[in-house]
Symmetry: C2
Subunit: 480 residues, 2 copies
């Protein structure tokens, strides 16, 4: 395919994409097929000779679309949102075309520098403390990671390295392996599975902190565990707080937890993967109070800030902590400006070496929406969640299972877990809307998350109508 | 921006991208600016209100393009290639629009299933042993990782887990921390820095194996180290072989190393990040002989197989080994088909939870080029490297520093390292072509890698003409 054909096919693809998104409501949100469906639809081997583009696009409808869970359908209420907007898509096209691999400043200065400045813009939108902003006299700054899982892992590795150095500074004889065996990390029992996984990767112990009746961790609970562990000769070194847990969007009390972590020399990382986007609205910003005690903070613009995946925003208080965890300098990656102290080589900030020019997506989205447009998006989706909450509350057969603060509603039928499992099964098989469950205090709960950018009040009303209809049928059955 | 505006802007962007790539030779390949150039060109904060699209596109030329190192310019010979092709770009547009986050089968069955089948297609193109192919009776399969660094880390973590379980099976009293402290991983002294980094992340020792005079590791060298370490009470558990090292594209002798690793119960991972693409050509496939002994194998189609970043192809002999290293199942990620044994949930195969629909890029590229087209691309680029090699060899002032097997030529001026550093400085400052150096046997060497898809013989001739002209000027200087 030459440039001339790309011009033609590219424009056709733009129309295909626009058609797909404009008509997405007409597709069933969740596919109806058996595992392994795809293999029999395409050949066993790559073709020896080129095929035509028409054949491929025909197969997109024949092979791919029937197997898609349509995350951007307004009938999709599962997991958390995956952000999507037209400006981000345009920026992504440009990013793919430039195709630089921005591991160092020299590998494409614009790629590194726009990222640093966009992370400053975003940090200011969140009113982060000055020490997280790169363009100040502070020692911190921001970086775009692929996912929150990677940000958590990076923070844990940086904390581990810092703890080992601190222990060895006062006891230089102690072998690293022995220190590792005494290190303890903490997180909420409601934290995302990737936090526990980070500890497993890093080869350190992780303890789950119990939560209060709003599923949040408070200072007292962590304090008690830390004191027990210290008394047992262990070394508490890391706490991952969650703002907006995955099951119920609960908020750990970081203003209590932060001072404790600082006093105990424990790294505090804040994972606000979903909820972080909302902190651009002044009315939600108080939930972030206490971030000034954190060593690192992360959230995913690719969830709720209209920036297509992947784009996970992470800030650290001290750049040196994260870079120091593993800096390698082979000659083929050295460049003339490296020792100037003025450049950032983002490869030291992350697990992968290579990286896309992801800050273009932030730049396009921030400028095409403006802060006011982004705030309007957040507020609209929170409003839709509140609307759904009211519908649930008005129906005596149902209960709300956790405070609705942002775009997630946790609800269930009053009654057994089996009853609610049955309801979810009917919803899934109905394929009109798509949700996933969670577990809260041993109860099986349905999660209704406002996801697609194009979700409107009518979709919420329709979804609730559908749920109550299925509920009616369910409760008619003799065994209920 | 609504769908109608996206249709218009998207088509303009397609033309912008085509124009950029068609005229890339007219831009200086390496930017001429000082660190920090970008910050002063744009505002300090995000705009409160939306800006127009025209303003943003004007700024792409004003702010971004002057700071780009143009990886797809035919005058770019640095690092290794970053793949790019029009079919991959079209697939990427579709991937962005579908915007599913394919962490589990249910999150979009097509995303998971196309990946499994594409990895089978690619595995067959490389003639991988049957146990790596998912659609067989074997226990293995393929997965798309973001980068080779992540594939290396995943393999090391799987190997670590397996080793700990094996040791504990015969000595259940031994604490994990003590086992960790005895584990030893190995890799070539020429291996990529990400291998050493993987060991650092995993908290295990890594020893560098010396290489022979072609910069490759042979069986004897590893055997000697393993025996020494076992005698010292350590537990060798992992070896990362390299096929196509970053400095000089050297090939470890895996047919010797594999049986040794198998005998010693050591996991053998093969990192063929750059060179792996060439194994689709029968004449290069013998370099992969010995892969049948490997536990995992990885290369980057995003380097040399015309698939834009990111797309790193990894196969494992036993799926259970890699999944077993860390499998977590929170309720919100469970789905009905999970226990059927028929589905793949790729989140267990990788560090991040989220993932793009990257297999679309493979599908489009394989079908639009056909195997023959991809082979032609590899052969053409190897031919260009051979052409450059002949030019160097014909000039008595220069020497070739490592055998030219694929698309990389390592060369230098006969004489001191300073002389060669001077030459590179002139090349970099000239900005007509872009190269990076490496170090081989303490010598400062220039790497000339054939990178852009559009590089032709005339570019090679022009590059050599430019290098010899700078050399002439350099050697005229009194101090040389």
């Amino acid at each position: 395919m030459d440039a001339a054909e790309f011009r033609r096919r590219g424009k056709e693809m733009v129309d295909y994409v626009a058609d797909y998104l404009e008509n997405i409501e007409q597709r069933p949100v969740y596919p109806d097929l058996e595992p392994g469906y795809l293999r029999s639809l395409i050949p066993n081997e790559a073709p020896a000779e080129p095929e035509t583009y028409e054949e491929i696009m025909k197969d997109v409808e024949r092979v791919i679309m029937p197997g898609i869970t349509h995350w951007h359908s307004p009938y999709f209420y599962a997991y958390f949102p995956a952000a999507s907007s037209y400006p981000a898509m345009l920026a992504d096209m440009l990013c793919t075309a430039i195709g630089c691999i921005g591991f160092s400043w020299a590998a494409s200065p614009a790629c590194t520098e726009l990222e640093t400045v966009m992370m400053d813009w975003l940090g200011k939108m969140l009113q982060l403390p000055e020490h997280f902003i790169a363009g100040t006299h502070g020692h911190g700054g921001g970086v775009i990671q692929g996912t929150a899982s990677e940000a958590t892992l990076m923070s844990l590795l940086a904390a581990r390295c810092k703890a080992v150095r601190r222990v060895q500074a006062s006891n230089s004889e102690l072998p690293e392996a022995e220190i590792f065996s005494k290190l303890v990390a903490y997180t909420s029992e409601q934290a995302h599975s990737s936090v526990e996984r980070a500890a497993l990767i890093g080869g350190v112990m992780m303890r789950k902190v119990p939560t209060d009746n709003s599923y949040a961790v408070g200072g007292d609970m962590l304090k008690k565990m830390v004191e027990e562990d210290k008394a047992a000769g262990l070394i508490p070194f890391y706490f991952c707080a969650t703002l907006g847990t995955t099951p119920s969007c609960a908020f750990d009390h970081i203003a209590e937890l932060g001072p404790l972590c600082n006093k105990e020399n424990m790294w505090m990382h804040i994972d606000a993967a979903y909820a972080g986007s909302a902190f651009i609205c002044p009315e939600f910003r108080p939930l972030l109070n206490g971030v000034e005690y954190a060593d690192s903070f992360n959230f995913n613009p690719h969830k709720w800030l209209l920036v297509n995946f992947d784009c996970s925003a992470m800030w650290v208080k001290k750049r040196a902590d994260i870079i120091g965890a593993f800096k390698f300098e082979p000659l083929y990656l050295k460049h003339e400006n490296q020792e100037s102290g003025l450049v950032t080589d983002y490869r030291h900030w992350q697990i992968p070496l290579g990286r896309r020019f992801r800050s273009l997506k932030l730049w396009f989205v921030f400028r095409m929406y403006g802060l006011s447009g982004l705030q309007a998006h957040i507020r609209k989706q929170v409003g839709l969640a509140k609307e759904f909450e009211s519908l649930v509350r008005a129906d005596k057969r149902f209960e709300i299972c956790a405070e609705v603060i942002m775009g997630l509603v946790c609800f269930r039928l009053k009654g057994s877990n089996e009853l609610n499992q049955d309801l979810l099964k009917r919803i899934t098989n109905g394929r009109e809307i798509h949700l996933v469950p969670c577990q809260l205090s041993s109860r099986f709960v349905l999660r209704f998350a406002i996801c697609a950018r194009t979700t409107e009040s009518r979709h919420i009303q329709q979804a609730w109508h559908h749920i109550t209809q299925l509920t009616f049928e369910l409760l008619q059955e003799p065994n209920h």
